[in-house]
Symmetry: C2
Subunit: 454 residues, 2 copies
């Protein structure tokens, strides 16, 4: 479609500048101090959707941050694609590790450095510009609906209420999401699954106040030591997770799928060099790709307790804390695993401490059937613009709302992500390659065309 290419080439600088404006809004959903930024960002998304050609755009208030819904309906007899994305971003901490300010986007070496550049502002915005391309070139072949929420990074606590209350509004034939990565631009791939998530916070309390470690040390349980012992007990010597019943509902991947995964391009030396580690680590009996794809995991996301400032302080602290999350695979249930994690930490607490374990957000694992219409349209679109077959892979991350959409709307989800694993999602110096941004805008109209033709 030469018309698309021409239009996009002519407007590429503006497309980029609009994205940069969006990236300047620090829409951090996890921090209450950014509440006003969240509102500004939702307003900006609404404005951009209207300019791109949406017929109507509405900001829906929720119990948390607002959600932006927009649509361009051309013909009720045509198929409808529901685009899901999120305008909220992860916190930018630790700030001192950023090479440039997280909310002052910097273009360097063909990459956009900013919090949210890839996850997910840069990716959902490709759909906005794809809509504009099709509207301006009068080539829309599907109805398009947009559901851009502001709470993905905190677990979408209010999306279910919205979806359940607006089933008719959201009625569609497929959900299209760009919030994942490809192996590389040379090896385009499509995620056929995302992992689920259970996330808990553990608070261990020893004595009722911070104590002098000389006067009391050795006679009272130290909550840091106890917490460390608890964490250490979660993996055995083969890095197998020891929480009772953790693997009960895991559907083992087939030999065929494992063969296919082993054939996907992967260079262990490059992987290690990129991460700066001498050796990899993980569950015995599985490759790195399997460990992050078909296997559930348990990770420590944060830990704190006692004196963490400059110099030395001889304190035996009253409390120690940890943030701990598990990634889940089919058919593990987030609720069941969260309960097992909480019960485990409570059950192994020695009598000298008390343990409070509470739940953060979770989400169910999801898999896209590769014989679904949506998957086939995505594969065809990628073939159109990359000239290569997409490799189906299982992604390690989580998009908790997939199971919700399937259950409430009865439709399949297809992931067409244009990020890279090296994009530093959730890390300092998050980036998104300009090439990938433009390649996404180029490919998405092909998806709509292919989907309409199927």
């Amino acid at each position: 479609m030469q018309a698309w290419k021409d239009y996009q080439e002519k407007n590429k600088d503006r497309f980029l500048n609009e994205l940069l404006d969006l990236l300047r809004i620090p829409s951090v959903s996890a921090k209450s101090e950014h509440k006003a930024d969240m509102v500004s960002c939702a307003e900006a998304v609404k404005q951009r959707l209207l300019e791109a050609g949406a017929d109507t755009v509405t900001i829906y208030e929720t119990a948390g941050h607002p959600l932006v819904y927009g649509e361009k309906m051309i013909d009720p007899s045509k198929p409808t694609v529901l685009v899901y994305g999120h305008y909220d971003v992860q916190p930018a901490d630790p700030l001192n590790l950023w090479n440039s300010p997280p909310f002052e986007p910097l273009i360097k070496d063909g990459k956009i450095f900013a919090r949210g550049s890839c996850d997910d502002k840069g990716q959902f915005y490709m759909h906005v510009k794809a809509l504009e391309t099709m509207v301006q070139t009068n080539t829309l072949s599907t109805n398009i609906k947009f559901c851009i929420e502001g709470e993905e990074e905190v677990g979408s606590p209010n999306l279910a209420t919205f979806v359940k209350a607006n089933k008719e509004l959201l009625k569609a034939d497929v959900v299209l999401i760009s919030d994942t990565a490809m192996i590389s631009m040379e090896h385009p791939s499509i995620d056929i699954g995302v992992r689920g998530l259970s996330y808990i916070e553990v608070e261990v309390t020893g004595p009722n106040r911070d104590l002098h470690s000389g006067v009391y040390g050795g006679a009272v349980a130290n909550p840091i030591t106890i917490l460390a012992k608890m964490i250490a007990s979660c993996h055995d010597e083969n890095n197998h997770i020891t929480i009772p019943g953790f693997y009960d509902d895991v559907v083992e991947a087939t030999t065929e799928e494992r063969k296919l995964m082993a054939a996907a391009p992967y260079n262990e030396e490059e992987y290690k060099t990129d991460l700066g580690v001498k050796e990899l680590w993980g569950e015995k009996g599985f490759t790195s790709n399997e460990r992050t794809g078909i296997r559930p995991t348990l990770e420590l996301n944060g830990i704190w307790g006692g004196y963490t400032g400059e110099g030395a302080k001889t304190v035996l602290p009253s409390k120690a804390f940890a943030k701990i999350s598990a990634r889940l695979v089919p058919n593990q249930s987030s609720e069941v695993i969260t309960e097992k994690l909480i019960r485990y930490f409570q059950s192994i607490a020695p009598a000298g401490v008390t343990v409070k374990a509470s739940e953060h957000h979770g989400g169910e694992p999801y898999m896209t059937p590769i014989d679904s219409k949506g998957y086939k349209a995505a594969a065809a679109a990628i073939k159109d613009t990359f000239g290569k077959d997409a490799i189906p892979v299982r992604g390690g991350g989580s998009i908790p709302i997939c199971a919700l959409f399937e259950k409430e709307l009865g439709i399949k989800i297809v992931f067409m992500g244009f990020g890279l694993d090296s994009d530093n999602l959730h890390s300092p110096n998050e980036k998104y390659d300009l090439f990938n941004f433009y390649k996404g805008i180029e490919t998405i109209p092909h998806f709509h065309k292919r989907f309409a033709e199927m």
Copy 2:
């Protein structure tokens, strides 16, 4: 000595107000932002010593914080007592746990609440007021020297240099220190030993940047998990320390000493209630008093890594840190144990991470012979004012400079502390009972009199 009592009764409010002024200076030696406060505090100590009757007072600059030296020489043929104390205090963090601001002293229920009220401003200041009492009543029976340093809470890194360069200046017959606690005012006691200290900081680095825990989790060593495993490995199931060679140089306490300790007043239920714990914890085969007195310990003083803010962040952090200290008993050596700790953490690091372990300040254990002149004078002074025999006990804390004084000056140290274990040293809501403050001022002149008579 009625003259002492009369003088002290008449001036008690002023004594207290002077102490409160001293407590208002946030002389936190560990934090560089308090450098100017340290200088102000040294100046204030100098001024108070001069007002109390010292002949000369000099502020000695060091490579770190200044040291205050003062003296009142009455007769070279009389014995000389060297009073050691420190005007620096521990950091006040965590601030949110204080019921009143740490540097705005509050008198409540007969207690002075402030950082440093007991450790050690309130205690060394008793000696300043005891000097004043003896000078004003013309009853001095010893020469008195004061060495009040500003770096005790960071391990006295520059005291050795000062002592070695000023042996003649510091020449004395005994070192008298009030920086410890009694069992209670009903059961006065004298510390006959303090433990040594080794303090290290461990930094575990996994990947070279914070990673998305979904994309990489399970395939890369998580530094928090590894650090937790390392910490968990430091104690076995009997809470015996597993660091190779840790107990090699421990001189076991005699059966007689253990019998004496068992006879000292101790109520386990009260101890647990005060600390708010259901069960105590510690090395199998030893009582609580033994665990904090005659046994070496290993305590976690701080831990941090990953996301520690509000809400949830799915990060696999690049780094995790811990502050870890050991309390040592005779004849363990701080240098040897520090080296063993560092070597241990480095040796157990798996190949997927790198471990940097570095040293904070340390100090040697010390014991006062109960047949020494200083101990006997202290015991007699306590008998004078409490009307009871003092119980000899081993303290759990550390006063790293004891070994230094003994080695360089060839004299014994005697501890005459008036604090209580419940004074929240190094913790929020540090306090010092008014009764104890005044009892110390009352008792100290008796020490000088008794020491001169021996």
